[in-house]
């Protein structure tokens, strides 16, 4: 049967607010994205300090050694004892030496130690790094806004 007065209804949702929201979200995530290659493990609860302001500019040749509350060391994704750290550190040293223009003297060992780790453990790790001929160290802390 054919009706002469047939009207075709087109139902289209208004997508503009949704696209607006989507763009807002994209921009938010884009701005909060952290592309830094720093190794940061969530297992470590860093001590906080007012003076530990984030440094501007990258640290030259950073090597991150993370110390868990148990005293174990997290290095390059592996959980090691402090003695087992010697091998990987030696490899890092040779790698730095083999790259032209990089000096071992300028390499910085960044120590991210849990706030409950015994200080002696951190000192042991520093000593092991010293024996691998590293000289510069940084103790990392969370920045507490005053």
């Amino acid at each position: 049967m054919f009706y002469r007065g047939h009207i075709e209804y087109k139902c289209e949702p208004n997508l503009t607010p949704m696209i607006d929201c989507t763009f807002q979200l994209v921009v938010f995530f884009l701005l909060t994205l952290n592309f830094s290659s720093d190794e940061q493990s969530e297992l470590i609860r860093l001590p906080s300090s007012e003076l530990a302001k984030p440094v501007e500019g990258a640290v030259e040749t950073p090597i991150t050694v993370q110390v868990l509350a148990s005293g174990k060391v997290l290095f390059g994704g592996d959980v090691l004892t402090s003695e087992e750290l010697r091998g990987p550190l030696r490899r890092e040293r040779e790698a730095i030496r083999s790259v032209l223009g990089r000096k071992l003297k300028n390499a910085t060992i960044i120590i991210r130690a849990d706030r409950d780790v015994p200080t002696g453990k951190v000192q042991e790790i520093i000593k092991i790094c010293q024996e691998a001929e590293f000289e510069r160290f940084s103790l990392r802390a969370k920045w507490k806004q005053p």
Binding site: T22, V26, S49, L51, A52, V55, D116, T119, G120, P146
Partner: protein, 192 residues
């Protein structure tokens, strides 16, 4: 020849939004998954070359390091702080004293560049206390609460104390007469 009469378009040109929304959602999901919310972190620099500079002839300009000794109780909490010879009660007192000692030396004729802090901590002292000491000693916040005024740049650790030696250091007044030269403890302690 007869052409069918061309029908005019309705007048409204509609863009197909579906692919754009798809891409936007893809982007959101990518950013969401790669999002890592971390609070900002900063560093305290420590320079510890393996060849100790103290072994050579002393430099005329070089000042003796200001020694900060922190003792720990058996839980790893601070049990006593000493700055040089002065015994202090808290980290805030340490900050004030350090400002007195090191803050005077700022300026071109000061000894800012040569003053040094040596940290001597018990083995089992919790690491957060080291950061507290460094916060107290290495600088302070200016009145605007933003600018950091550095008091000292050179920080180093004293040779580490073995964990076994911290017990006698807590009780320095006892002459320990009960176990004089017994051989058992000497055997049980391996040389570090």
């Amino acid at each position: 020849m007869k052409f069918a009469a061309k029908q005019e378009p309705a007048g409204e040109v509609q863009l197909n939004m579906t692919p754009m929304i798809d891409i936007c959602f893809q982007l959101i999901i990518f950013f969401m998954l790669s999002l890592r919310l971390y609070s900002p972190e900063g560093d305290f620099g420590i320079s510890m070359p393996i060849a100790s500079p103290r072994e050579g002839l002393p430099d005329e300009q070089q000042m003796l390091p200001v020694k900060v000794r922190v003792r720990a109780d058996k839980n790893g909490n601070p049990a006593g702080i000493t700055l040089g010879d002065r015994k202090l009660q808290s980290f805030s007192e340490l900050a004030l004293q350090a400002r007195d000692i090191l803050g005077m030396d700022r300026g071109p004729a000061g000894t800012f560049s040569s003053s040094e802090i040596e940290l001597d901590c018990d083995y089992n002292l919790k690491f957060e206390n080291v950061i507290k000491v460094l916060t107290a000693v290495t600088g302070y916040l200016a009145d605007d609460k933003q600018t950091i005024i550095r008091l000292v740049e050179k920080i180093r650790f004293a040779p580490p104390r073995p964990p076994a030696q911290e017990e006698p250091s807590k009780k320095p007044t006892h002459p320990a007469p009960s176990n004089p030269p017994s051989e058992k403890p000497a055997e049980s302690k391996p040389p570090s």
